[in-house]
């Protein structure tokens, strides 16, 4: 399996990369880790005329907390995120980053690459949706910030413009009483998710649910926020009954297709089940961080 021919540039500055993108609008692709793009190119399912490799652009991989945010540079690899000390306090992100692909993929694959690629069964989008993250897109005319819930438009399609580069993901800084978790079902370790559910729960005063975020992957044209599930949780006291109601709501919003990963009713049921499992863990972690 050999990719079709293409040109390759490796600019040293972000501005140069953006300039190239706007000059070659539509036929250039950004290369980050390459673990999503190159297999598609080898199968000749993707045939970009130009690859713009971000490797030499420095400063796009920081993981920092500000007063409000946790900011992760687009070039941060899954493994660096997983092993980062700050991320140890973000259990949802810790779960996701430790379970993507296999160790080699995690060594090279990046959060920005995954998010921009927007595979309908990839893991990061579910977490971004659950956490109401924001995605920083840089163009030649500056930055714009896109809400995760406005970002994933369709299969392999996002709100990013062809002339823009995804530079950073911003999560909200974790407050006390908040916990998150990601549970996915895979046919074998390293597989894309049959279904995956990310959950964030913030417990309010008196132990009821102050905020609930649910992101679901693998069971629709693109990952989605299970808003019906979030509504079913808001204000409730955590219990298995409440979780199950949320699971049913998330399953109801799923639009899976029947394929070799299983039939529609199975996938819907898995969304419900995984939602319950993620919620149990998220609440447990929220309680442990009060």
């Amino acid at each position: 399996m050999i990719p079709a021919p293409f040109d390759y540039v490796r600019p040293g500055e972000l501005e140069d990369a953006l300039k190239i993108l706007s000059e070659r609008e539509g036929d250039a692709k950004i290369l980050s880790g390459g673990y999503s793009l190159l297999p598609l190119m080898k199968l000749r399912l993707a045939q970009p005329a130009l690859l713009v490799d971000l490797r030499d652009i420095t400063g796009l991989d920081a993981i920092v907390e500000t007063d409000d945010d946790l900011r992760i540079g687009a070039k941060a690899t899954h493994r660096r995120i997983h092993e980062n000390e700050t991320i140890a306090r973000y259990p949802l992100l810790h779960d996701v980053s430790g379970g993507i692909g296999d160790p080699q993929v995690r060594n090279w694959g990046t959060i920005g690459g995954s998010v921009a690629h927007a595979d309908p069964a990839s893991d990061w989008p579910a977490a971004l949706l659950a956490a109401n993250a924001r995605i920083v897109c840089r163009g030649q005319n500056g930055e714009r910030i896109v809400e995760a819930r406005d970002f994933f438009l369709d299969t392999f399609t996002t709100a990013i413009e062809p002339t823009e580069i995804l530079t950073e993901i911003r999560f909200w800084r974790r407050p006390r009483g908040q916990g998150g978790a990601y549970t996915k079902l895979e046919r074998r370790v390293g597989d894309f998710a049959t279904a995956g559910v990310a959950a964030i729960i913030r417990l309010g005063d008196g132990g009821s649910i102050g905020f609930a975020g649910i992101g679901v992957t693998g069971v629709s044209d693109s990952p989605f926020a299970a808003t019906d599930a979030e509504a079913a949780l808001a204000g409730q006291r955590p219990s298995d009954d409440v979780f199950r109601a949320a699971g049913e709501a998330a399953a109801g919003m799923s639009r899976p297709v029947s394929d070799i990963r299983g039939p529609v009713d199975y996938k819907r049921a898995m969304v419900a089940e995984l939602t319950v499992r993620s919620l149990r863990k998220a609440v447990e972690r929220a309680l442990a961080y009060s």
Partner: protein, 173 residues
């Protein structure tokens, strides 16, 4: 066809080549540099037979372009021996019958070497997870796990040996 000039270090040796941008790193190593110890077993980065180290990180060289390795330090199975001395992992794979057809072995050893770099004392579960991106069709993984355990023990012993010897000398003095 436009080519690009790249330079890199392979197993400690400076190398360079003029390559098409689409040339896969594994093909640079095998077809251009003649380092055929790194193998190809799939097209979709699932099997791990092509695992090497790039700047100290294990990588699947079939899912990396040669141009991406421009300027990098690359280590392959051929770089694991020190002179004629086998790396403890190589010795352990032999001792423990951790290979049969040998095709996945170079990638498996390179991944195991990276794993032990990161985690010198892995549990059995950590070893199994650590090589989950490398498929073996012959061994059922049992003896691969044992080999990695053996090498971990030896590497640990040799890491602490000079210090221990030093202490002994100090005690005698």
């Amino acid at each position: 066809m436009t080519t690009q000039h790249i330079t890199l270090t392979v197993n400690g040796e400076a190398r360079d080549a003029d390559v098409e941008p689409r040339l896969l790193l594994v093909h640079l190593l095998r077809d251009v540099f003649g380092l055929t110890g790194t193998h190809i077993g799939c097209d979709t980065s699932n099997c791990g037979a092509c695992t090497i180290h790039v700047n100290g990180q294990s990588a699947k060289s079939c899912t990396m372009l040669a141009v991406q390795a421009d300027g990098a330090e690359v280590r392959t199975i051929e770089g694991m021996v020190a002179g004629t001395e086998l790396h403890p992992l190589q010795q352990a794979f032999w001792d423990q019958h951790g290979l049969q057809c040998g095709f996945c072995t170079p990638g498996m050893i390179m991944q195991a070497a990276w794993l032990l770099d990161q985690n010198p004392q892995p549990s059995e579960a950590e070893i199994r997870a650590g090589i989950s991106g490398n498929l073996c069709r012959c061994t059922g993984y049992v003896n691969i796990v044992k080999a990695i355990q053996q090498a971990a023990g030896e590497l640990q012993a040799s890491a602490s040996a000079p210090a221990a010897a030093g202490e002994a000398v100090a005690a005698e003095a």
